[in-house]
């Protein structure tokens, strides 16, 4: 049985500024390994994940098409950009859940990429960090860093408010229920899976 949660209007829209990247953004670029020593639960240490989010991306390849724009400015631990637009194979590389976690801490709410690496995708969904949407178009060639975007989760569309154009996104498919529940544990509790899986 699929769990259907009715989204309210407020919950079904994600609005924010775009941060545009290229292809094969691996987890070492999302959060370089030297920073993985920090706690993911201590509130002070958690800020370090925001500070270093996407800090491994070579400078000229961050904030396309111009490049040279850091996701998080020097001295800050949150980003002015909340929607990441990227090419294929986003999140390839290591299994570190610190990667989607750091994006969330920095303030990202959704990613729109042509495709994802499996472990990163699972981590986004099961950990309830950021929503990983897929697109069949090369949106990272059409959207500019800084454009104001609005994602309509009910209709699976993204509107570029700056350029006044709307694109279709792939439906989240079978993971939509986990995304709406906010992660695998919330989903499992709602569906009584924790009790069943422990039986």
């Amino acid at each position: 049985m699929k769990l259907f949660i009715k989204l309210t209007h407020m919950e079904s829209i994600i609005q924010g500024k775009a941060y545009v990247l290229g292809k094969n953004i691996d987890t070492d670029q999302i959060i370089p390994a030297e920073h993985l020593v920090y706690s993911l639960s201590n509130p002070e240490e958690v800020k370090m994940y925001g500070k270093y989010a996407l800090s491994g991306v070579p400078l000229e390849q961050g904030g396309l098409p111009e490049g040279g724009i850091p996701f998080v400015s020097e001295g800050a631990h949150t980003s002015p950009y909340s929607i990441i637009i990227a090419g294929p194979n986003f999140g390839c590389g290591s299994s570190r859940e610190h990667a989607p976690f750091s994006l969330k801490v920095a303030g990202a709410r959704a990613i729109i990429a042509e495709s994802y690496a499996r472990i990163f995708y699972r981590n986004c969904v099961d950990g309830g960090f950021v929503i990983p949407y897929e697109t069949s178009q090369q949106l990272n060639k059409l959207i500019l860093t800084g454009d104001e975007l609005s994602i309509d989760m009910k209709n699976n569309t993204i509107t570029n408010l700056t350029q006044n154009v709307t694109y279709q996104l792939r439906p989240l498919g079978s993971v939509v229920d986990i995304v709406q529940a906010g992660g695998i544990f919330e989903y499992a509790r709602k569906n009584d899976l924790m009790a069943k899986s422990q039986a």
Partner: protein, 431 residues
């Protein structure tokens, strides 16, 4: 209904006779592996979700092998080891391999094999993308994040989509200048870093079955570099002998049915393949070593779960014996056992350790070390514009430390030959 080996292992773990490609099933997990980077956050989530006094589903099935940030002065890294120790203690975990004691082993994927945790037909999940290494033992091994790992800790189960399989058959006799690393880099160049996303990569053919377990582990280790869920090699006499020497646990052997269906099939004749590298900054940026020979390098690095096993060092010794290195060359044994074998195993009458010392290499203590950069004081970490030839498995920007450095992934033979000349060098020049 015909099934692949991966489907059969899924079916066993789901208590089913048959599982279909694409369906999501709940798997009973045989072993959960974690280490010092992902263990502490996993344990946090476990306590948060199951309660502060919750107990793991089966202490025997949790294997904790600290290996990432071991020989560093970084305080946070030390704190993370303390957190592992504390959790292992309160949960009475028998399979915790504590740092600073004689139980310390080193790189988890290699230690799992040494300690007899790799058992054919079983399901292993680990909080490390290279958990696919264990597929060399005819089992399912795959990487997961902390949340999924915490779910397993509490329930012993995880949902997974049954993957489609891709088959890679290597025919012919392995030439002495070719290694498993060359085979997997060949595949990566052909299918790309997302060429196997969400799929199983099945390796087959007489050349694969002529390889040692070390080499089969190298092949499966890099399935993740193509995005694969798992890499897998069916069990043969070599696997059985290795496993039976390390565990008395019974196991089930599965083979793909001859009429099982595949997403795609690739065939290679190893006698026609050449030594290759993956150029910066992607594991699929393949070039033959000959075509890039002469490119100056600043470091050579021989280590990691992919390239720091006994077989890797035997290969490197073939070239380094009686020669001197021209650039900084780090020898990083994956485990304590491999480190000790450097002193006992010989090539042409000389121990590997003495061959490497005479050649001018630095031999480090066993850990993941600079494969993934690590804290600033990590041995072999790349700095500035270093150009590194490395037997590790990943070379995206910044992977070994400096994001201005370039890393060429190569076999131990190519890394050793290049260390001697200070330039990328085809090992055939020395063999």
């Amino acid at each position: 209904m015909a099934q692949t080996i991966t489907q059969k292992i899924f079916a066993r773990a789901a208590n089913r006779k048959f599982v279909d490609v694409g369906e999501s099933v709940w798997l009973n997990v045989d072993v959960l592996l974690t280490h010092d980077v992902c263990g502490p956050p996993t344990f946090d989530i476990f306590k948060q979700e199951f309660g502060p006094d919750a107990k793991v589903w089966n202490p025997e099935k949790v294997v904790v092998l600290p290996d990432h940030y071991i020989f560093t002065a970084n305080e946070h890294a030390h704190r993370n080891i303390d957190l592992l120790r504390q959790f292992a203690d309160e949960q009475s975990l028998p399979n915790y391999y504590d740092v600073g004691t004689d139980r310390y082993r080193g790189v988890c994927h290699v230690a799992l094999a040494e300690e007899g945790f790799n058992i054919p037909g079983t399901v292993l999940f680990g909080t490390d993308s290279h958990t696919c290494t264990s597929g060399a033992f005819g089992m399912f091994g795959s990487g997961i994040g902390n949340t999924d790992a915490a779910f397993i800790l509490g329930t012993g189960k995880l949902w997974e989509k049954v993957p489609e399989s891709m088959k890679f058959t290597f025919e012919g006799r392995m030439p002495e200048y070719l290694t498993a690393k060359d085979l997997i880099l060949q595949i990566l160049g052909d299918i790309g870093t997302d060429g196997a996303t969400y799929r199983a990569m099945e390796f087959d053919g007489e050349a694969v079955y002529s390889l040692s377990m070390d080499e089969r582990m190298t092949l499966c280790n890099m399935a993740i570099e193509a995005g694969g869920m798992n890499g897998i090699i069916a069990v043969d006499a070599v696997t059985e002998a290795f496993v039976k020497a390390r565990t008395t646990k019974p196991f089930e052997v599965f083979h793909s049915d001859p009429d099982a269906s595949y997403h795609s099939m690739y065939r290679y004749n190893v006698e026609k393949l050449e030594p290759v590298v993956a150029q910066p900054h992607s594991p699929d940026n393949r070039a033959t070593v000959r075509s890039v020979a002469g490119t100056p390098i600043t470091k050579s690095y021989i280590g990691s779960c992919t390239g720091g096993k006994l077989t890797d060092f035997m290969l490197a010794a073939k070239i380094l014996k009686g020669r001197k290195v021209a650039v900084t060359t780090n020898i990083v044994p994956a485990t304590v056992l491999v480190a000790s074998q450097l002193s006992t195993e010989t090539y042409e009458g000389q121990t590997l350790r003495s061959i490497f010392e005479e050649a001018g290499c630095s031999i480090a203590l066993p850990s993941c070390a600079a494969c993934l950069g690590g804290p600033a004081d990590t041995v072999g970490r790349s700095v500035d514009n270093d150009v590194v030839v490395s037997t590790t498995n990943r070379n995206f920007p910044g992977r070994m430390g400096s994001k201005f450095a370039g890393v060429y992934l190569a076999s131990p033979l190519t890394a050793a030959a290049s260390a001697v000349t200070g330039k990328l060098t085809d090992p055939r020049d020395f063999l």
